[in-house]
């Protein structure tokens, strides 16, 4: 069901007063939990809980022929599946626009941040390279799927290892302890505009009440910006810069938090 007129007004009103229904600050996100290794069949996997939003991500490796125009580089594909398991707003069937956007957002963040060294995924130039498939599977949508999915992806990538290879064939089920060439976590933060104010990590209702959002992906400590995506109403230059500042600050905190959680996991 779409958000009711009554509730939309209330959320706008509360946020315009710089408060939120669940008592958070405008730029405060919900509690984050990361569990790694949720599928022993994956070369890397993770389950992320951001408040009530839960996302699974898994990494599968395979040996393939490289693309003609990059004979010594590995291949990356990012896929997402918005299963009706996670929300009554999702439908069965082929990926819709929302699913594709989610996958492409995560893909751009990973690719542009150069966190994966594609050259190190080359086995034999022109003949055999490693392909990395990142699969994102939300299992409960309670808002902010984009950021939760991004965290799940980098968590899974950070623990992913190469499988054994014998005579040019991948020996699935036999993992080496050699990690894939993944360094420098790309951190994704989406900032939402609700009634003239900016919030991060919205609940589903807050997302419904928002009029625009911008997704940023940074790496730290250099504070490089690798990708941006804006959706919704038009924004002024000042608004965009303010949103970037919010995302950059939250990203820094997230970077430290995620790094810490992954060390413990």
């Amino acid at each position: 069901m779409e958000i009711s007129t009554v509730m939309k007004k209330r959320i706008e009103e509360i946020i315009s007063k710089e408060k939120r229904i669940d008592d958070r600050e405008l730029i405060e996100s919900r509690e984050l939990e990361i569990e790694i290794g949720i599928s022993s069949k994956a070369e890397g996997s993770a389950q992320v809980k951001l408040g009530d939003t839960e996302v699974l991500a898994g990494i599968k490796l395979d040996l393939v022929e490289p693309f003609r125009d990059s004979p010594d580089a590995g291949v990356l594909t990012v896929n997402a599946e918005l299963s009706p398991l996670a929300s009554d707003r999702f439908e069965s069937g082929p990926p819709g626009v929302k699913t594709i956007e989610l996958a492409r957002l995560i893909d751009r963040g990973l690719r542009n941040s150069e966190c994966i060294d594609f050259k190190k995924l080359c086995v034999k130039k022109g003949e055999k390279v490693w392909s990395l498939a990142v699969d994102i599977y939300p299992i409960n949508d309670a808002g902010n799927l984009i950021d939760a999915s991004a965290i799940a992806s980098i968590a899974a990538l950070s623990v992913a290892v190469f499988p054994e290879v014998k005579e040019d064939k991948v020996q699935y089920g036999e993992l080496t302890n050699k990690k894939i060439p993944f360094t420098n976590l790309p951190i994704t933060v989406t900032v939402y505009k609700v009634d003239g104010k900016f919030i991060i990590d919205p609940t589903t209702e807050e997302e419904d009440a928002s009029v625009a959002r911008v997704t940023f992906t940074f790496t730290y400590p250099n504070e490089d910006l690798h990708s941006m995506q804006k959706v919704g109403d038009e924004l002024s230059e000042d608004e965009l810069i303010e949103m970037e500042e919010i995302a950059l600050k939250e990203g820094k905190r997230l970077n430290t938090k995620i790094t810490g959680l992954l060390k413990k996991a």
Binding site: S40, N79, E81, P84, L85, A133, D135, I139, Y172
Partner: protein, 242 residues
């Protein structure tokens, strides 16, 4: 008989022993009911939505509500990545899972509606359809639907000369050499049983056993399902701790 005593399963289990079972209810907040169930490394989660309006209208049944099961596997649940989307295997499993659960569900009083049950295999190590049925049975109960009894499922296998309970992938892939060729020699018999009447709601067989051995396989399954039902009951009663 000595042969049976000597037979050791690859993971050291007794012939009639399942892998470690974990079950938890109420894990997906958006759903009306949900659960997780795992046999060792075969892990399934299930989410139930409904009864709800069924679109399009021509699919509605004016006599009673419909149960629709949707079985799916994550691409990273299996050794070789599974391409996203339905395939023939998942369609078949969706169908038999629904048939296994229908007998206990009393949705004849909800005409024209649908109960959607989504099953997702997060990690697959054989017996996934059984893990799925067990998770779905818990999720349907958790959803508060009128249900006569619970449903429990387990796979019975035959590797070599002995029947074993809860096949692992290694056992499912058991092969023997025949005429210099490696051929598949394991039989897989998934069976589901109702908790009170102990009637069988699902039985499939894939392989080769003697006709006279079927009775033994069913008896073994029943014994195992009784244990699984105890675990399912415990998981439902522990919902207050979640």
């Amino acid at each position: 008989m000595t042969k049976e005593k000597e037979f050791k399963r690859a993971d050291g289990r007794a012939l009639d022993e399942t892998r470690e079972i974990k079950a938890k209810v109420g894990i997906i907040k958006n759903a009306d009911g949900s659960a997780m169930f795992s046999f060792g490394k075969s892990k399934a989660i299930a989410a139930v939505y409904g009864p709800r309006v069924l679109h399009p209208q021509h699919l509605q049944n004016p006599e009673k509500g419909i149960l629709r099961c949707h079985y799916d596997m994550t691409p990273f649940s299996v050794s070789e990545r599974k391409r996203p989307g339905p395939n023939r295997r998942s369609s078949e499993i969706s169908f038999v899972t629904g048939k296994a659960l229908e007998p206990v569900l009393q949705i004849q009083n909800y005409p024209n509606t649908v109960v959607d049950c989504y099953i997702l295999i997060v990690e697959a190590d054989a017996s996934t359809r059984c893990a799925g049925i067990n998770a779905a049975s818990l999720a349907l109960a958790n959803a508060g639907l009128p249900m006569n009894e619970l449903v429990a499922a387990v796979s019975i296998g035959k590797t070599g000369d002995s029947f074993v309970v809860d096949l692992s992938k290694e056992e499912e892939d058991f092969t023997i050499m025949k005429d210099g060729e490696e051929i598949k020699a394991a039989t897989d018999i998934p069976i589901s049983m109702l908790s009170r009447s102990e009637k069988i709601s699902l039985i499939q067989l894939d392989g080769k056993i003697k006709a006279s051995e079927l009775k033994e396989a069913i008896a073994l399954a029943k014994k195992s399902c009784r244990e699984i039902i105890k675990i399912q009951k415990k998981a439902l009663k522990e919902v207050k701790d979640n």
